[in-house]
Symmetry: C2
Subunit: 345 residues, 2 copies
């Protein structure tokens, strides 16, 4: 966010506790040197004599994304007083695991656009996306082995199998309009929030902090990840997103049972129920159905309530940091929680 935008948002947005729209800027400022190191290491370690691997991996990694997860590892390590350089390599591991899941998710979802670019599988095919994902995933474990901590390996191998469980759960709820809010949370805790939690927990572990601090950072990451995913799911129904040139409606087209849908279905009358069954279970979608879905979500308060849930989890995330000493790291991480629910993209 540029200064002019910050000033603008001060004028239009007074709900944020920051007196301005919350942003990632304080976090980015705090870890920018370390993040350069992470980006450098990512570039080095995604290399392979097999040319397609750096080419495809580079496409996905360089396409950017916010590097939110590795920044969480960097800031958590700093918050815990880690004074060495181990957090650099472990932040790169976290990003490699995240990139591998994106690549496998591209295959899975036939999503055509990821971060505004053509997704890897539409350019190189499903086969290459699966295999390069496998390569990055293995490379992440090689980096952890070089770091040498069995505890870190335990955290990230466990997170990885939970992520896979979450993705399979999501697959099983897709197109199932009886999916409950509890099932939705189980999915996103596993597929998204676990990696946020692990990324943060690692910071305490490598700093040699007591279990209570590792737990607190895990709780911060977990709640942050839940809030982040809820907002992601809301944004897929956001006209603002469309105005910014982002693709919206992917989840709807695929019949994904995200929170806005789950809440709207719960509150639907018989006619609306039939609408959701037709569009999401049988995927029999007509022009205008997506707009009609958004109308139903607004009418039933599903979108607003989903956002309220996101705010709740973001608040829990911020509260999890209360026990840490005040300072730039703590306030930057608290602002990340606010950013996750205020962001518009």
């Amino acid at each position: 966010m540029k200064i002019s935008e910050v000033c603008l948002s001060v004028a239009v947005d007074v709900v944020s506790p920051y007196g301005r729209k919350a942003s990632l800027d304080p976090l980015m400022l705090l870890v920018s040197d370390d993040l350069q190191g992470v980006n450098q290491l990512i570039l080095e370690r995604m290399q392979s004599p097999v040319a397609l691997i750096p080419e495809l991996a580079g496409h996905v990694i360089a396409a950017g994304g916010k590097r939110l997860r590795p920044m969480l590892t960097l800031a958590s390590a700093r918050l815990c007083g880690h004074a060495q350089r181990r957090h650099i390599a472990l932040a790169a591991c976290v990003e490699f695991i995240h990139t591998a899941t994106l690549l496998h998710d591209d295959v899975v979802d036939d999503s055509e656009l990821r971060r505004g670019h053509a997704s890897a599988n539409t350019v190189w095919g499903n086969k290459a996306s699966v295999l390069v994902g496998d390569f990055l995933f293995s490379r992440a474990f090689e980096l952890m082995v070089e770091d040498g901590s069995i505890e870190v390996l335990a955290i990230l191998s466990r997170a990885s199998s939970i992520i896979a469980e979450g993705e399979v759960m999501q697959l099983m709820t897709t197109g199932d309009t009886t999916t409950t809010e509890a099932q939705y949370y189980a999915v996103i805790r596993a597929k998204t929030a676990q990696l946020f939690a692990a990324a943060c927990r690692i910071g305490a572990v490598i700093a040699g902090r007591p279990p209570a601090e590792a737990e607190a950072l895990d709780g911060y990451g977990l709640n942050l990840g839940i809030a982040f995913q809820i907002v992601d799911d809301i944004l897929d129904y956001s006209a603002e997103q469309a105005r910014l040139g982002k693709t919206i409606g992917d989840d709807f087209r695929e019949g994904k049972m995200t929170l806005p849908v789950v809440l709207a279905v719960e509150r639907a009358d018989a006619a609306d129920r039939e609408f959701w069954r037709r569009t999401l279970e049988t995927l029999d979608q007509q022009p205008g159905d997506f707009e009609a879905a958004i109308e139903r979500m607004q009418r039933t308060g599903a979108l607003a309530d989903a956002m309220a849930r996101a705010h709740h989890y973001a608040g829990e995330a911020a509260r999890a940091l209360d026990g840490f000493r005040d300072g730039a790291e703590k306030s930057a991480l608290k602002e990340v929680a606010a950013y996750c629910v205020e962001r518009v993209s």
Copy 2:
């Protein structure tokens, strides 16, 4: 192999140094108790509250296969005098990694049959195959973490990224009739032989044996894996396989540049070259083309010479064991090398 079959093969097959057709029986006999433990652990650790995971994983794992790779870990550990139970869990890791690559390979190759059963992706879809593969792969690392050896983690994480590189290399040579024999070896060393090598090397590592023994077992596994894959590739053009009810011709239909094809193309005249380009590069295949391909492989001696190469590598594998003390383990592992080239399925 039953006793009666052994007697029969003594009569018909005198080329084997064993005076009978070489088999996996001595290896299986040697490790049968341990293998039960491995199978038990595999069953336990493929469980998940997400029902589709054990269902799909169970399909692939229970479909059987020979459990050759975990048996290699078990026998190598015994050969090196390992007296604890660590080889059980690590053999299960090796099988999990192998199963994960099979699942991802199913997606990749659209292969319809694997081990004579419908492959997982035709029953549950590509999505589930990718994700359950990811789960098993992560679970393998969780098991290694429980074992606690950074050295074992280093061996298997390195093997995993090399496997992925090999699979990508294979993807890039598929349909490319200029693929050389050297490129073929680079592919199979990475995609197949690395895991054989790692499976064997682990045995020496957990037994605390000196590096030279770990190297020797690595060399055994690497050469064995190369021989195994060459024969696998030959069998896909084998009438005997078809007679046994196995699907053959998958590699041909997919345009895979396996050794029989590489050698046949190298020796082709202009007309034959055109045949290979049409069938493998453009995949413009007519009825009778597969039979015509086999005829060309026989006429040019490609199949026979591929088999001669396999014998060479099997011999190298056996020789790699020369430095170990004589005994049941050593002779069983030597027989595995002979089995890999004599097997008909």
